[in-house]
Amino acid sequence: MALFSLNQAINWAIFQQVLAQNNGELSQKLLTEITVNKLLKAALTLLIAYGLLALIQWLTNWASERVARRFRLLIKQALPFWKGLILIVAVSYLLSLFLNLSQGNLIALTGTIAVALGFAFKDYVSSIIAGLVALFEAPYRVGDRIIIGDHFGEVVGYGLRGIQMKTPDDNLVTIPHNKTWTEAISNANSGQLEAQVATNFYFDHTINPDQVIRILYQAAYSSPYTQLNLPILVVMEEHQWGTQFKLRSYPMDARDEFIYKTDLIRRAKQAFSRHQFPYPKRFDIQDK
């Protein structure tokens, strides 16, 4: 917020200075003559830009879900670029249509817009800037599986103001880009097809850890969803109530996370029941 206020103050000062220099002639030079033809052109430009944006969104989703997995993320990740390109071309054309963009005018215009937007749409502008920054820093990309705040899901849309996430319950959550200024973002796959899945298993302290670890490795190796090219690891942790085993492995497609986890648990539990492994006992408060 402090940073934003400082920007506003600087812009306002520049704006005042330019105004004084141009001695009132600015407004006449800044705007070009507005004609019906220009208005029609502008309307047509907006219409085409809107249509192209909708088309590119639809086309990206359509194509990415029909190609092989390997190319899905490549197509999805190109979405912000195409949207940005359409917006830049459309806005540039509209500006050139109505404004005389000389150096002085450009400074004055920037200042005016900054002040106007600073007061009226500061959150919106903050989101747009955050969206641009996110394009370069890439804390999330379309197709990534992320956690922001309380929300977890796959990024399915990248708009000017925010992203759309599809949750495992098939809800669409819209989150403004400016959340990246303040919120921690956890990204599971970061542009890759695979994302690590951690599956927990709990046993009594008397368990034979070697047997459990062997079964867990075999469960991961035998699952049809496992990406065998990536490492598989079992780690243990002791608790007061029992022993925890965590199987870390990667499915071939991050989208298969839940079905993969289910497959691992089902395979492992079948083997555990054959060996009759002891699960942790519940503490009986009355007995204590």
């Binding site: 092989a68 997995r69 390997r70 190319f71 097809l193 695979e194 079964i215 075999q218 469960a219 190796y221 035998s222 699952s223 049809p224 969803y225 990406q227 065998l228 090219n229 071939m252 497609d253 497959d263 089902r266 395979r267 492992a268 079948q270 083997a271």
Partner: protein, 393 residues
């Protein structure tokens, strides 16, 4: 290995050309062979001995490896021969050993007709039973700890395991037999072990039990060139193909045909055989639909060879891919084992399998499912593009 993306583009371009060729063929009035004639020709191909190039390559590899093992105490005592999942590796090994005029040692085939038992845990006991007479040390000993004293003169046993992929199933405990065999081979150094396996199974076993570390000598089957394909299939082709142009032109045309067939089939014999059969056409004027032509009849009309091309891969669902990948790893597999390997109930798998059989991707022989050879090349690219691990052919 070529990038799957480049391979997809090449296959797409080839597919466009094959479509164009088909259009030309339909204009020339040729039609596909009647099903009965196709079946008869397929049976003829099945009756052929496997390509001589394979046999010679295997015989040479075994002779050289055994000789080295007999002359050097430290030499490896095993040779792994890798083929594609659509190649009949058991038959290739069998033919190579049967047609070997002077084998370096008399081969003994272990578990020649092994198919996975209904419960995969029993594979290990079957292997234990089969290898017991050839074990040098007690199973309680740790491998590599105490090797019994060895003498080069004792090295006179050549053991063959023709199909390693039938010795495991992708499920918990499903590759214990392989781990056991791996240790036995390492310990029994007075026997030479020849093992046949498919690339995909071998790569899978390398992931799960690091089998590559135990076997020093791994040799893939050679790729068939056009000439080798011709040598192999000409025995049948010459009897059914129309040879009407002058001999020199004919020779040139046939040479180019076989070269194209070998290239399309990636040098894999089973694919070459399928493509050759698919490339045959007949003129509709030459036979009556009521009495389809037969190989046994004296008046079999001459057949025409057209440009061979890989068939179009039907669209696949996500589940289809998992099923086909599992079949490729196991080579041949029953429906119940397939369900076990996928962690699904047999009833769920059943409908998918039926659809895949109808699409021509899977075939069933003696209760075992396998991939239809002609689809292998495109299927491999499709699976690689979908992030599955694929065997390095």
């Amino acid at each position: 290995m070529t990038d799957p993306l480049i391979r997809s583009i090449v296959q797409q371009i080839q597919s466009w050309f094959s479509q164009a060729n088909k259009a030309v063929e339909s204009q020339s009035g040729l039609v596909d062979l009647p099903v009965s004639l196709q079946t008869q020709l397929w049976q003829e191909i099945q009756g052929l001995s496997t390509p001589m190039l394979y046999q010679r390559s295997i015989q040479d590899a075994i002779a050289s490896a055994v000789e080295n093992w007999q002359n050097n105490l430290e030499a490896p005592n095993s040779l792994v021969l890798l083929g594609n999942p659509v190649e009949p590796i058991t038959q290739i090994l069998e033919d190579s050993l049967d047609n070997w005029p002077s084998p370096i040692l008399p081969p003994k085939t272990l578990l020649p007709t092994l198919t996975r038992p209904p419960t995969p845990e029993k594979i290990k006991s079957q292997l234990q039973k089969a290898t017991k007479p050839y074990q040098q040390q007690e199973s309680s000993q740790t491998v590599g700890d105490t090797i019994p004293s060895e003498q080069l003169e004792d090295r006179k046993t050549l053991l063959v395991i023709p199909c390693l992929e039938q010795c495991f199933l992708r499920c918990i405990g499903g590759w214990e037999g392989i781990e056991y065999l791996r240790d036995v081979v390492l310990a029994s150094r007075d026997c030479f072990w020849v093992i046949g396996c498919n690339h995909w199974a071998w790569d899978f076993l390398n992931f799960v039990c690091q089998i590559n570390a135990y076997f020093d000598q791994v040799q893939p089957l050679p790729e068939l060139e056009g000439e080798a394909c011709q040598d192999w299939l000409d025995a049948i082709a010459k009897t059914v193909i129309a040879l009407d142009s002058p001999e020199e032109d004919q020779e040139k045309r046939r040479h180019s045909y076989w070269k194209s067939l070998a290239s399309q089939s990636s040098g894999i014999s089973s694919i070459a055989a399928s493509l050759w059969l698919q490339s045959l056409r007949i003129s509709p004027d030459d036979f009556d639909e009521d009495t389809p032509p037969s190989l046994n009849s004296e008046s079999l009309p001459p057949l025409q060879e057209t440009q061979p091309s890989l068939p179009h891969l039907p669209p696949l669902t996500v589940k289809d891919r998992y099923i086909l990948h599992s079949v490729l790893i196991h080579g041949r597999i029953t429906r119940s084992h397939l369900a076990l390997s996928l962690g699904e109930s047999a009833s769920i798998i059943q409908s998918y399998v039926q659809v895949l059989i109808r699409k021509g991707l899977l075939q069933q022989q003696q209760g075992q499912l396998s991939i239809y050879a002609a689809h292998y090349v495109k299927l491999k690219t499709e699976l690689a593009n979908n992030n599955f691990f694929v065997g390095e052919d």
